[in-house]
Amino acid sequence: MKLMDVVISTGVVHPGTKIGEAFRECVTHNVGGLPYCNANGKIIGRFSLRNTYKQLCIPHDMSRLAHLLGDKVSCESAPEVLNSDILNLTVDPYIIENVATISPASPVIKALSIMEKFNSTYIFLLDGEQYVGVITRMAISKLLLKYHEF
């Protein structure tokens, strides 16, 4: 099994890209994050669905004590998840600087190990400086099932 067999080609986000556009790209390709590239096309960070929700919608106290929340809980003072305004915000303040990457020649186990280390569900595949696509656990699992005809 090679990483090129499981890579998912996606677009990238740039400075000024709206969160709604980034969400659509993630949803279309079923990935949890996208590379954040500068004007020269160099990856300088990553857009993450999880981090964006965390920064925009989920207060620290709520996530820490989530197990205590009742089903009727509502928080007018918390930023609203369903507020469409957030889709028109730009991605820039919510970009994570550390980026986990891997090359096409690397084994699958290395990709899984790096995802584990970064506590991430995806990793970016780079051929030299060139962005190829996203490797996800889901894609690896899908190919594993197909490979072994399970």
Binding site: H60, D61, M62, L65, L68, C75, S77
Partner: protein, 438 residues
Amino acid sequence: MMTETPNELTAHMLISLAVMLGAYILIFSEILHRTSSAIIGAVVMIGIGTAAEFYTQDQAIMAIDGNTILLLTAMMMVVAMLRPTGGFEYVAIVLSKCSRGDSRLLLIYLSLAVSLISMFLDNVTTIIIFAPITILIARILEINPMPFLMAEVMLANIGGAATLVGDPPNIMIGTAGDIDFTRFIIHMGPTILLVWSCTVILILFLFRKHLQKVEKHIDLDETKAIHDSGALKRSFFSLAVIIVLFFVHHHLDLYPAYVAFVGLCIVLALERPEPGALFGQVNWSVIAFFTSLFIIVGGVEQSGLLHWIGLQFVDSASDPEKMLLTGLMLMWCAAIMSAIIDNIPFTITIIPIVLGLETMGVNITPLWWALAMGVGLGGNGTHIGATANLIAITESERCGIKGAVITPVGWMKVGIPTMFFSLIIASIAYTLFFPTFM
């Protein structure tokens, strides 16, 4: 080596003073983390002290207050076992539901719980646990959490002053003054109870505009707070053993640190925790900070400087008629210094001076109580007065609720009046009942 102390300033005294001031400036400037600064200061003090022949490595090790360090370490480990049980969150939710939407009652209930817990456990840990649940409750009730956070911290700081183990300076004072747990709580408890009650009224008045009755249901499930009821019972059993032993440790001739380790052994045997979960929760930075400060002040003490400072106060301190005034001055000086800098370095520095007075025939017992009240109440004055204050500020900043952020100026607007008010109450009690503090 220091065998006798001259009555005039010597080169050794000035050298040790320079090293200590340099270390303290480095600590308070926050150029480096305060623990890093203290470690550097300790190493420099030993190095220069050895070279100048007023301090040795053996004396530096002897200067470390083992009872304080080991007691703090053991209690941190016990708290590490208690914290994940969810018992504190359970209490907070039940109390918030008992308040039935009355913000004033909510503030009193939560502050009372935090204060009682802070009498036996570290304030910082208590606030780390209570601040997020307080913010969540306020968020659900759609009220500003800021008054609740500030009240909890300030009243926890006051509550912690009541017991030997409630605040690190008290442990140091208790060890230095050979004061046991029961004697400490008997002398400090009534005064602190009075100060606490009056401060609650003051805080309710200062935050009166924020404390309205709200018609909202607190949709939090307290039954989900307890992760493992067995672990909760076992951890609280060990804490109960510790508290009971604290009350009788002097009869059994046990150090408070040993008592804490007895309780720790019980919880270790019953819970069998993973080493990472246990030792990872100990705040080694605080332990190293205290250890380093003891070494720094040990060097100053060996140089004879602290004895020399004591000589300057011996006349007023040895006069029984001026004893009350000396105690009050110490209390207010300790409070103001604790508010401006930090009560730990101040306490560690002042203790040898007070002990030095004893060698000059002064009855220093009233001074210990004055010092304990001063350092305990002074931490409320500014946001940097106590570490727990900073925890509340950090939580207020990250909650994202409009108007909830506690700024340094915002803290002082409430903290300074609260500090002076509580000091006035404590001073009145100290003056009226001075013979009981003798």
